[in-house]
């Protein structure tokens, strides 16, 4: 059975390719008309400085080690909890009355379990930091 259709015959692949090439050429021509030497220079300058910065960052061993460490879940917990702690601290500082000073105030602060936890965390940080730094110096990084 014959059927009639108004749909035109599909263009050949060759014609499609030519059309795409034509579109690409139009795009290049449009870019050439739209851009100036100064714009090209600025783009190139941004690219040049950008890859230089990227190169410095990716070759910085300290930064790369930091990123590696930050990939661990427990480190992300540390960062999240640090962010939370900073928020809490800023809120409490804003509402707390100014410290009166004196040894008594210091003693009162030292008696608080939170202060003792904080000091313990900081002293542990100092201990491991010191160990790691000594090791790095011993082996030349």
């Amino acid at each position: 059975m014959n059927t009639r259709t108004d749909t035109p015959l599909p263009a050949t692949d060759y014609e499609n390719d030519l059309q795409r090439l034509g579109e690409l050429a139009s795009l290049v021509a449009a870019a050439q008309d739209a851009l100036s030497d100064d714009m090209v220079s600025r783009l190139a300058s941004a690219f040049s400085e950008g890859i230089t910065l990227l190169d410095r960052l990716t070759r910085n061993e300290g930064l790369m080690r930091l990123l590696q460490v930050l990939d661990r879940a427990e480190c992300q917990y540390v960062l999240t909890s640090l962010a939370d702690a900073i928020t809490q601290m800023s809120r409490e500082l804003a509402t707390a009355p100014p410290a009166k000073g004196g040894f008594g105030g210091l003693l009162k602060l030292a008696r608080e379990p939170g202060t003792q936890e904080g000091l313990r965390a900081l002293s542990m940080l100092g201990k491991y930091w010191n160990d790691s730094l000594r090791e790095l110096h011993r082996h030349g990084g």
């Binding site: 290049v28 050439q32 851009l35 030497d37 090209v40 220079s41 783009l43 190139a44 300058s45 690219f47 040049s48 400085e49 890859i51 230089t52 190169d55 070759r59 030349g140 990084g141």
Partner: protein
């Protein structure tokens, strides 16, 4: 291993940075050390001077602090070398310090010597220095019509510069709408319009199309600045209103004073890039006496080879590669189109028609140069 790099130009900086990357581990464990001695704390992008001469770049765009371009592991000093004591593996600097080395790299570059031609300094403009490029631009701005002569001394840095400046002059006066009032005449010292045969073949029809007159076998003997006449050794002369010169170059004076090479060019092995008779001394860029163009790109490709070889000597005790004479030159064919020439010891360049995309590639490279000297590109 103590590696000493003398010269902080294009070749020396690329070499030192490339080497510092390759030997990062050895430098950290103090098995290798790189020291650079330079005459200046600033680094200039020399190809930019042509743009300054046509008001397309400002002089301050051409400079960066050298210290910002080099790897932090390189021991950098602004203290030019005055004495090379190669038999004792040491150099003596202007400040009186002595630097010993196991491997020495000499990349001291070249300088213009217009004073060798009577009248050339007084009678012509040149864009090979910052001061000269600014002066040339001012003269071009004032120029309302007349005869412009272009003369070329040999050897000179950037072999393409004579045709580039000629094309740029044409476009500059077209843009100002006074091209019909300007007669441009190009003079070249050998019997064709460029030393590279394929560049000559490509440029000749371009000159014809632009209405640029040319005279070959014109070696400048003297310039009569008062009467504005340039005379050739061949007996011809040209009366000009504005003379633009590409002066002859010589190697640095310290090279000649230390008897390292006639004219300041050090005899260099064309593949290993070592100084003849000294296997632990490498020579780079303009300083060599090699039959390749004195360009930043030649220095760049040479630096890659020397860095790879010095690194391999440090790591396995032997060099691993050789220089094939590769040079890549952008050619600005006016103010909005460009082409390029790539060649080596074996293959001459095969120039393509100039187009705007290549011009933008060159514009981009003017900025990407800084990534290049940092050893990144």
């Amino acid at each position: 291993m103590r590696i000493l790099v003398v010269g902080g130009g294009c070749g020396g900086t690329i070499l030192a940075n490339n080497l510092a990357r390759r030997l990062a581990g050895e430098i950290r464990t103090r098995k290798a050390r790189i020291t650079m001695l330079s005459a200046s704390d600033r680094h200039m992008y020399q190809p930019g001077l042509l743009y300054v001469a046509f008001g397309q770049m400002m002089p301050d765009e051409l400079y960066r602090d050298q210290a910002t371009l080099i790897e932090p592991t390189i021991d950098f000093h602004v203290d030019p070398v005055e004495q090379f004591e190669l038999d004792r593996n040491q150099v003596r600097t202007k400040s009186g310090k002595v630097h010993s080395y196991d491997i020495l790299v000499i990349a001291t570059g070249s300088r213009i010597v217009p004073e060798e031609i009577p009248g050339l300094v007084e009678g012509s403009e040149t864009f090979y220095t910052e001061k000269g490029a600014v002066s040339m631009f001012k003269k071009l701005r004032e120029f309302q019509g007349g005869k412009i002569g272009i003369v070329v001394g040999v050897p000179h840095k950037c072999p393409i510069a004579p045709v580039e400046v000629t094309f740029s002059l044409h476009d500059y006066f077209v843009a100002r709408g006074i091209r019909d009032k300007v007669h441009i005449k190009y003079h070249y010292p050998i019997n064709r319009i460029h030393s590279i045969e394929n560049v000559a073949k490509w440029a000749k029809p371009e000159f014809d199309r632009m209405g640029i007159e040319y005279e070959t076998l014109f070696n400048v003997e003297e310039v009569d600045a008062k009467n504005k006449i340039v005379k050739s050794m061949e007996g011809t002369e040209y009366q000009y209103d504005l003379l633009i010169s590409i002066p002859a170059h010589r190697g640095m004076q310290e090279i000649e004073k230390n008897n390292l090479g006639e004219g300041g060019w050090i005899p260099t092995d064309r593949h290993m890039l070592t100084m003849e008779g000294h296997d632990n001394v490498y020579v780079l860029g303009d300083t060599t006496n090699l039959p390749v163009s004195k360009t930043g790109s030649a220095a760049h490709f040479e630096a890659e080879v020397v860095a790879e070889n010095i690194a391999s000597i440090v790591k396995i005790g032997t060099p691993v590669t050789e220089y094939d004479g590769k040079v890549y030159c952008f050619i600005e064919a006016g103010h909005d189109k460009a082409t390029y020439a790539m060649f080596n010891y074996q293959n001459p360049p095969d120039l393509k028609a100039a187009n705007k995309s290549m011009h933008w590639f060159k514009m981009s490279y003017n900025k990407m140069y800084w990534a290049s000297v940092r050893g990144l590109l």
